[in-house]
Amino acid sequence: MTDDRIVPVTMPKWGLSMQLGKITAWAVAEGDEVKAGDDLADIETEKITGTLEASDAGTVRRLTARVGEDVPVSGTIALLAPADVSDEALDAAVLAARAVIDAGVPDDAGGAAELHTADVGGRKISYAGTGEQGDVVLLVHGYGGDRNSWLFLQEPMAAGYRVYALDLPGHGTSAKDVGDGTLGVLADAVTGVLEAVGAGRAHLVGHSMGGAVVLAVAARDPGRVASLTLIAPSGFGSEINADYLRGFADAQTRRELKPVVGQLFADEGLVTRQLVDDLLAYKRLDGVGDALHALLGTLLDGDAQRGDSAAALAQLGGAVPVTVVWGAADRVIPATQAESVTGAVRRVIDGAGHMPHMERPAEVQAAIEETIARAG
């Protein structure tokens, strides 16, 4: 007995590798009215904790998943339905939902990410792509990050675009050699991936150091770039949290690394043990320490920023749409630097730190898609 007025709320898929999520707290109770955009629950993945927002309005009639249990992606965690839907119909839907949750992750559920490698100037560069149609969007992470930092964005954007994320040299599973550590070496990797995927022009999205990298690509090869979205980009002012950068490069243990990583987020509670462990596992690979220290020389001049992204942006001369996105609570590069960026749409996101694409992914996705739309 099914009633099509019952609307299931399902476990979201935040990232290519996510198979399970765990509700850490409900923001609603049975009987509550919700409207689209209301917080429903805090959900913990292996990587990070996020808040699930309602995509539909309705009355919460049943919560089908328990706090603390693992729920497979797309498993039903709650049921919305009008008051006149019968309890019998709801109970039947609860049973069906519980069967899916209790069955766990099916054995054949692999990550949808297709991982590739390109040889760029003798360096192996890893990148993952998803999405069948539309313009090419390439996501470029920041210092110490990797392609997985886009976990909340890449999959949702794949509905409309071919979305690629790469590991820069010295990062993720790409070659750890960064040569002289200049932005040019990193920009070569971006260009190399664009060539490998056969993209004539692409929308580039760069975070932090990745923002300076995509600007370097655009300055060098403007014909390749259809739009630029710069998220907390480096190089637009002198002020930077040099202690963060050095702390990240130097941390040897979980105890040293955790407080450093906490500075990335407005809410340090977002940092899970798994996130710190993954970063530590990366930092312990041979060659990573050398790469991170070499890149410090590109980013820092004493305790100040070294790069000049403003000059690179000026060189573009308004040829393509540019948006700058900043978290208002950024503790690595202050959001006030957004004000100095000219010739770009500026968006400052409340409640986000240096990682708005992890902390407020929906708003960052909207900013990227709006920038792409302006490119026409």
Binding site: Q252, R273, A281, R284, L285, D286
Partner: protein, 337 residues
């Protein structure tokens, strides 16, 4: 790029990558090339359970097949280490360590101290430990507490393929003698391991499960037994924090103490005999340094104070299992004055 490989393969890969990187790294031990009476080169076993298989042909002249004379080849490995090599010597079963104990505890462990830091002894002594293979009293002991007791030795017990590779690479690069304990029952365990080389530092325990009710401190194979118990207990609403020590020397006291300060209750799970083992050591540490945090007496889950039985029925009840860990946790959570 991580892929799933076994604990055995992870160890093999660590040795191969270090041999590739550093030509002073050599491997020595019994049955590396089949041993006496075998066809030799064409029968390269890679040790009794095949951990070094393939290295003999890959690194000609750098994998030495030794006679069954542990006192001779362990002494030779230690001597080679002091002379500039980085030997990885395999002494099949830790049970046989007695015949070369002088070389280990009275020589290798002392050189750096006695020569004022002017001598280093970068030797790794690999050995199998633990019950469960129906190998009886002389091939099943744990014995890592004996080596933990001795200053100058580092003692390592990986519980997973990932840890096995990272700790082995650290062991080979370390300038001190390292006793590297491999549990026989873990060799076929599979898990994600990066292809690249990486090191795990000694003296950093791994919190393999977080929980606020009870701390379980454990090591080696017992990490998995403890996790099984923690999973069962979670269904009853008891959240266990499981701490894998990874190395007993050096010991990560901070992680143990911080965990107990958070939970107020401690169970230590150790496959070794109950007297002067890691469980007693951790219990003493917590009783001295976190007494104020304790809300219940400490419980220990260990093997009994007997040799490992040959009878399969007895061996099965000799090895601590998840049920005993569950019972111990229930004892500390149910305790009242």
């Amino acid at each position: 790029m991580a892929r799933n490989i076994t604990y055995r393969e992870a160890l093999n890969e660590a040795m191969a990558q270090e041999m590739e990187r550093d030509e002073t790294v050599i491997v020595m031990g019994e049955d590396n090339a089949g041993g006496a009476g075998s066809p030799g080169d064409d029968d390269a076993w890679g040790g009794v359970l095949g951990v070094t298989k393939g290295l003999y042909h890959k690194f000609p002249g750098r994998v030495l097949d030794t006679p069954i004379s542990e006192s001779a080849f362990i002494g030779a490995a230690i001597g080679a280490a002091t002379a500039g090599m980085r030997p990885v010597a395999e002494l099949m079963f830790v049970d046989f360590m007695g015949v070369c104990f002088d070389q280990i505890y009275n020589q290798a462990a002392k050189f750096r101290y006695m020569f004022g830091g002017k001598a280093v002894t970068p030797v790794v002594i690999r050995t199998m430990y633990g019950a469960g293979l129906r190998a009886a009293a002389q091939h099943s002991q744990c014995l890592y507490p004996l080596f933990t007791h001795i200053p100058g030795l580092k003692v390592v017990l990986p519980a997973t393929p990932y840890d096995a590779k990272g700790l082995m690479i650290q062991a080979i690069r370390d300038n001190d003698p390292v006793m590297f304990f491999e549990h026989k029952a873990l060799y076929d365990m599979s898990g994600p391991v990066p292809e690249e080389s990486y090191v795990l530092p000694f003296g950093e325990a791994n919190v393999v499960r977080e929980g606020g009710d009870v701390t379980i401190v454990t090591l080696g194979r017992m990490v998995h037994t403890s996790l099984e118990a923690a999973g069962q207990l979670a269904a009853d609403g008891v959240q266990c924090e499981v701490v894998d020590l990874r190395t007993t020397s050096p010991l990560d006291e901070d992680t143990v103490l911080e965990s107990v300060e958070g939970t107020g209750r401690l169970v230590v799970v150790d496959e070794a005999h109950p007297r002067c083992n890691i469980a007693t050591d951790i219990s003493a540490l917590v009783a001295r340094k976190a007494f104020g945090a304790l809300q219940a007496p400490i419980e220990m889950v260990t093997a009994p104070h007997t040799p490992v039985p040959f009878s399969t029925a007895l061996e099965d009840i000799y090895i601590p299992d998840a049920q005993r860990v569950v019972n111990a946790v229930k004892t500390v959570t149910g305790w009242s004055r």
